[in-house]
């Protein structure tokens, strides 16, 4: 049976654990202005990324399984039930046991997070692509060149 594009890549448990991991990678800001990456729903972004790049699937599946194993050794309820301290210890263990997975997860988390509308707005930018509106820029102050203009020629003839 072929896989349906609308089928979820992650089980509910995997998605819950992934969201909790994402909230550790980028937690909410202390002033509440910026959401955590899990809270922002980036698990769905990671899922879409995996769908666009099927080569990533084995690494992500393996990485999530490793998180589950490490977490379950501390609590049978899995990663999302762990204390803050335990979560960090699991992720630090993961960095050494899954050296390909964790940097890749951070990469895709950063990419998804910083092109998200809520985040871009919170950074003080308009959440839009550059085109077609573009950007206004200040006028050039070419008096700054006064000293350079006084210099003798710099080239050899």
């Amino acid at each position: 049976m072929s896989e349906d594009a609308s089928d979820p890549c992650f089980s509910d448990d995997e998605e819950r654990a992934l969201s909790a991991v994402l909230d550790e990678i980028i937690p909410p800001s202390s002033d509440g202005r910026l959401p955590g990456a899990g809270e922002l729903g980036l698990a769905h972004y990671i899922e879409q990324t995996q769908r666009r790049n099927p080569d990533l699937t084995p690494m992500i599946k393996q990485g999530l399984a490793a998180i589950d194993d490490l977490a379950c050794s501390r609590s049978p309820q899995g990663f999302s039930a762990l204390s803050k301290q335990d979560r960090l210890e699991v992720l630090n263990d993961l960095r050494s046991t899954q050296p390909g997975f964790f940097p890749s997860l951070i990469f895709h988390t950063y990419v998804g997070y910083y092109q998200n509308t809520r985040v871009v707005e919170a950074l003080g930018l308009e959440p839009r692509p550059p085109f077609p509106k573009g950007y206004e820029m200040e006028a050039n102050d070419l008096t700054l060149l006064d000293g350079v203009r006084q210099r003798p020629k710099l080239y050899r003839a």
């Binding site: 937690p27 550059p130 085109f131 006028a139 050039n140 700054l144 710099l154």
Partner: protein
């Protein structure tokens, strides 16, 4: 079945092929250009989509190996610290270039005479100057007259905006008493010849959705097509064929369906740049040319020059609005351009001030440089970087060395089965010393501008934009591939007009010199039509 013969067949529709096609059009000869890529749709460029930053890792990435487009060909660059970055389409690599457009200096054409290294060019700045000026008008170049780093020249359009970032860096250069000048840029800063003016989108290196950047699909090609030139896209040339007299008589190419076709021509012009041109010549073997066409000197593919790049980034306390403005065009400095023997190396380098980073790029640079960790410190560290970075690249002059070369890879092929090029390249001691010097000077000027910290990468691996020297020009058929007007020493009706004919590399972006050379060669062809093959 062979197509109808043409007078002039140009291979490649990029910077030089477009200029040549336009210039030759007034001869009323039958001119055909074969291009392996297709027309680009500016509406599809990343800057028009929400995920524009992500696309530099995908379909608008720098490396043809990573993009994986059918129109591109792979390059084995595993034996080089610098990776090739080119693009195949109508417009060629001008689709992705930053449009930084400085000319060579007069001294760049006589490095042997002045500095005792490499070779002099068989022509000089004065000979090329009218063609530089003609090209500036055709491309719509912006800048400011009066730069003491150059002989007098006029700029058709006013300079790009320096922005808060450019003004900040300019003050740093002034503090040190170093040269700087608004960048010469192939970007229309005002409405120009039907092109809309730049609106400071930012990511010029992923195509210009506004059409303000002078890629040749929006400059030369519309004019050339109006004048009667035929441009056949998705047509990938496999080899140049020769007759029994050793004259080029056409090409064999694959059309969009992968069907093999033949095209006869009286004159063949190669415009595939420093990797594609030697690849095609080396793949054109015959009884008369067993080592590749036009290669009796043995120099086809040799003397490959990149520009070793350094990338130096400064982090400032204040916002710089660096996400606005043409990413590769702001200000330039030629303070260290000319040879100074006290520096421990010959020749020199130029600074090209870039803009800052948009949100995703900030995060990823922060991640790779260890400045933006995951976890509790993430937001504080990110806030210290976002809109507070200024980038600059340093373009070092490379010198020709015969061991730096392009050959045909024995295994790798493109989507039509044509052998792919392999690049073998190593940095010279001169380049290594120059990189060390330029990084220190770049850090110095960033600090003078107010940077609280800096980070450098040298050589910058993805920076193989400038591809030169692999079919060099010269007066002696034993030491060069083409003569002083691009005609093959071995095959009198074969011309080469791209960066492969450069004798030396200078320390600036090569596109305007490539195009000035193409216009000069076209003009010389026109003046010699009656006895072109003598």
């Amino acid at each position: 079945m062979p197509e109808e013969p043409v007078d002039v067949l140009i291979v490649g529709a990029g910077a030089s092929g477009a200029a040549m096609a336009w210039s030759l059009a007034d001869t009323r000869m039958k001119i055909l250009c074969l291009e392996q890529g297709d027309w680009m749709d500016p509406a599809s460029y990343p800057s028009a989509s929400e995920d524009w930053e992500l696309r530099r890792f995908g379909d608008f990435g720098l490396s043809p190996n990573h993009r994986g487009r059918r129109e591109d060909y792979p390059v084995n660059d595993s034996e080089s610290p610098i990776a090739v970055s080119n693009f195949n389409a109508v417009g060629g690599s001008t689709i992705l270039y930053a449009a930084h457009f400085p000319r060579f200096h007069p001294a760049d054409f006589k490095v042997k005479t002045l500095d005792g290294v490499a070779d002099d060019w068989p022509l000089d700045y004065e000979r090329l100057e009218p063609y530089y000026a003609q090209n500036d008008r055709m491309m719509g170049v912006s800048g400011l007259a009066g730069d003491p780093a150059y002989p007098p020249k006029q700029m058709p359009l006013p300079p790009v905006p320096l922005g808060k970032l450019g003004h900040t860096l300019a003050r740093g250069f002034n503090k040190l008493g170093w040269h700087w000048w608004p960048s010469d840029s192939a970007i229309a800063t005002q409405t120009y010849e039907g092109r809309a003016p730049c609106i400071n989108l930012g990511p010029c290196i992923m195509g210009c959705a506004q059409g303000a950047k002078a890629s040749t699909d929006v400059t030369y090609w519309p004019a050339a097509l109006r004048a009667g030139v035929e441009l056949r896209t998705r047509s990938r040339v496999r080899e140049i064929t020769v007759d029994e007299n050793g004259m080029a008589d056409g090409v064999i190419y694959y059309d969009a369906n992968g069907e093999e076709r033949k095209q006869k021509a009286e004159v063949v012009v190669l415009a595939c740049n420093g990797i594609g041109t030697p690849r095609l010549l080396l793949n054109s073997r015959s009884k008369l040319f067993p080592d590749g066409l036009a290669n009796r000197s043995g120099l086809v593919g040799k003397n490959l020059m990149f520009h070793p790049y350094a990338m130096v980034t400064g982090v400032f306390d204040e916002p710089l609005e660096g996400y606005k403005g043409p990413t590769g065009c702001c200000i330039m400095s030629h303070e260290f351009y000319e040879t100074d023997p006290t520096r421990g190396f010959v020749r020199g380098y130029s600074f090209e001030i870039l803009r800052g980073m948009a949100p995703v790029a900030t995060a990823l640079w922060g991640m790779s440089s260890g400045r933006v960790p995951w976890g509790a410190e993430h937001h504080r560290a990110y806030a210290d970087l976002f809109d507070r970075t200024a980038g600059m690249v340093v373009i070092c002059e490379d010198l020709p060395e015969s061991h730096n070369r392009v050959t045909l890879d024995p295994d790798l092929v493109d989507s039509d089965g044509i052998p792919a090029p392999k690049v073998s390249y190593r940095l010279s001691e001169n380049s290594t010393k120059m990189l060390e010097h330029c990084v220190a000077r770049a850090e110095e000027v960033l600090e003078a501008s107010g940077a609280k910290s800096t980070a450098a990468e040298a050589p910058l691996r993805p920076a193989g934009w400038h591809l030169m020297g692999t079919a060099r020009m010269g007066g002696d058929s034993r030491t060069s591939v083409v003569n002083e007007w691009g005609r093959s020493h071995d095959v009198p009706n074969l011309f080469i007009i791209d960066g492969s004919i450069f004798v030396t590399a200078a320390a600036v972006n090569p596109t305007c010199t490539i195009q000035a050379l193409a216009l000069y060669i076209a003009d010389t062809i026109k003046k010699n039509l009656a006895n072109l093959f003598d």
